[in-house]
Symmetry: C2
Subunit: 524 residues, 2 copies
Amino acid sequence: MNGADNLVHTLLAGEVDVCFTNPGTSEMHFVAALDRIDRMRCVLGLFEGVVTGAADGYYRIAGRPAATLLHLGPGLGNGLANLHNARRARSGVVNIVGEHATDHVGLDSPLTSDLEGIARPVSHWVRTARSAGSIGLDARAAIEAACTPPGGVATLALPADAAWTELPAETPVPAPGSQRPPLRYRPLSPEAVGAAARELCGPGPTLLLLGGQALRAPALEIAGRIAARTGCALMSEFYTACLARGAGRVIAPRLPYAVEPAQAALARFRRIILVGARPPVAFFAYPDKARHLASPGAAFFTLAEPEQDLQAALAALADELDAGAFAPAGVADRVVASPAALPAGKASAEGIAAVIAALLPDNAIVVDEAVSTGRAFGPATVGAAPHDWLAVMGGAIGFGLPAAIGAAVAAPDRKVVALEGDGSAMYTIQSLWTMAREGLDVTVVILANRAYQILRGEFAGVGAGTPGRRATDMLTLDRPHLDFVSIARGMGVEASRADTLDEFARQFGRSVSRPGPALIELVI
Amino acid sequence: MNGADNLVHTLLAGEVDVCFTNPGTSEMHFVAALDRIDRMRCVLGLFEGVVTGAADGYYRIAGRPAATLLHLGPGLGNGLANLHNARRARSGVVNIVGEHATDHVGLDSPLTSDLEGIARPVSHWVRTARSAGSIGLDARAAIEAACTPPGGVATLALPADAAWTELPAETPVPAPGSQRPPLRYRPLSPEAVGAAARELCGPGPTLLLLGGQALRAPALEIAGRIAARTGCALMSEFYTACLARGAGRVIAPRLPYAVEPAQAALARFRRIILVGARPPVAFFAYPDKARHLASPGAAFFTLAEPEQDLQAALAALADELDAGAFAPAGVADRVVASPAALPAGKASAEGIAAVIAALLPDNAIVVDEAVSTGRAFGPATVGAAPHDWLAVMGGAIGFGLPAAIGAAVAAPDRKVVALEGDGSAMYTIQSLWTMAREGLDVTVVILANRAYQILRGEFAGVGAGTPGRRATDMLTLDRPHLDFVSIARGMGVEASRADTLDEFARQFGRSVSRPGPALIELVI
């Protein structure tokens, strides 16, 4: 057994049994160990951003971390944007990044880099294994860091010599699953529960602003009881790692993205109770707009932070309020459109949303990177079949297709629907090949407006006036048109194009009723 | 005039008049300034790795830096691997990275990150502009850093408020080209010249190992005269930023990549004179192989380092040796294969090389990311028409297609030939769209062996044995096959597939004789 074998055994002992990989020479001993030791599912990505985004999506659905396998500092660099997103989502990820052998780093050969320096801005935990003998403890610490609630990005650099060096014969081999770290929530604060209960019973409108694990179905149900008991409003942060939605679920409308609508939505609240959420701020700064979105007079109270057990915090609050007997308020009714009632003709955001709402399969996972077009989808899909909604948490686009891979690997029995802008899809378009190779049950919908549409809005929003020729060129994807059907087929994914809502409904309906990956380019 | 306008004026004053862009909200004022002010050529990339790799390729051919426009820390992250390559190539690059407004960073909104922390591992120079008023000086310092020989990666973070704030009316506007920084080489050392001359006159085989600017045609010619005068051998480092090759050029054979052949090539030399090169080391560490490639008894002498004027150093050395009157040794003869003599049938590395050698147009630029297959190309193309050869300097794949963009923008009158492995092409495949949009004169040849072929060799090389099922799966790209013709057409690039050398010769010949982008997938 060498260090690499021990690393694989330790990962499996910590119930890390999926590895999204894009290996290189310095990781070949780790690859060989994955060969020798059963149980690790290895999923190859053709680009590192695919690998790290998949790990983010996997954690949100599986609730435990996957490993990534990356090649040296530059390979980690290629995965950086999606690790930024994972860090913001508080997704647990165990990055294994191959590093040159310890005595090779000093030679400064071409691929040498400041690996830890690259890792640090996107990691909660960073370490370089010192030797083959330390790898077991190093990997265990990495898994613990990744599993510390609500989750974290742990990056372990694996020098090639630490991987290839043989360990003494008596080195113990931990059994698979024997070392899964316990969930170590930071304890709840009874004072915070009491204070929140008092505020909820006070006069005037109060908001329970929910984030993180408070947006899972069981927590939402408790929040619904609290709303029924106290009359408070519920809302979720704009970005949600995994929001339980659809018929039968308590509705927590998303805070709007844009400054003015967000201010309008929050204006009436004098008290805002935060449950795994933060005081809402503008996504970007604009010269003449507010940075803080709540009413200037609003007071914030923190019931619990993401590091605490948010569902337990809501349960304690419900207890304190004697809300347990109340039926949850704001439960979504099922809205079923008959096929005949589906919209037809030219695509509009509302029409697309209506089609998706009508045809979304039960228990689907929706990965939302539809950016500008997708903002209309939330309200329209409230009455769809129950589903989970995953959004890019760090705002770095290129998240959607990789996250769909991770979600599909985590839940092979659920349909994943990836709603993608054409601009954002192109950042990690290589994902399609992995979907084909693994036969993942993903329907990709490309909303092809042939522009960085959001930026056209932002251009005006920041007060830059009206884009001229050069600026328009930088915000437009129409010269040439991207043909996503051709691109998808080139990567082995079945694909079709829809120019109208009726075509879209037919293609979407067919795709979600059949297993395996498919792509629909919807021209809007 | 606001800060963004001043930044554009300052870039143009420093002769930075090409900007490879992938903008976002925080850069909209900079985009608006590019709109208002003429003269900056803006080239959009659909992914940041395209943008940064293009800047690397541009510098190698244009000899002056381009700017990049990137969106916040994660956008910079996506460009990191190719900035690593640019840093290793010592290419001058001026990164303009949009940052949140100064008073917004502290709010920690989703896209907030440690931007300088992400930049530092790949940059020679990093700064965040403090205000609109400082931008002129900041940008000038960035350009100077990028232009300091042999070139460097300068990263300037541009807070949104520094971009949008108006400057006093009396702020001077520098004229285009008025502030190009002078070339400030570190002075040569007469002692080093004298010592090198003495060593070259000593007994036994001596090697002049060339790197960086010593591989441009005028420097090589001087090296050839020195070789003629002293009998020394010439060799170039394995990776070369821009190597002048082909008929009429002095041959500087590349040091082989693999440890054993490199050791064999260097074994006879007791003295190695370094001209912009470093003592050669193994690219990767292997358990039982040497790290240093020269013979253990070899002594190194540094004539000049990359920060010095390498051509002047060679000229001084030639003077010292009275080599000026000697005709250069080792000049490549033109080897012209008649069309009838071109190889046919099943593709082999030698056959591909012969086709390329025969059909390469005069003064072409070859971007080499052919990895495993491409190693045979060097010797075979020595007698081709004169050309420049660009290799990935940092070893991070995904360099080739972006660099071809940059080279084609820098030299619109030259044909660029990008030789790509199928694995490496997929890292930055979005490049094809930019080639189509800009009508760049690039022939892309995908050498489709449907594997990470180099890793199959490395797997054995590191002593990991024979890959089993899981490992083979991670090193193989054949499930499904990538259809590069379909992918290229999807991005607007004309494409064809060749299964034999005769088909390849026909398609390659047609492509290089016509302007504009084209892709050939050569199945091997």
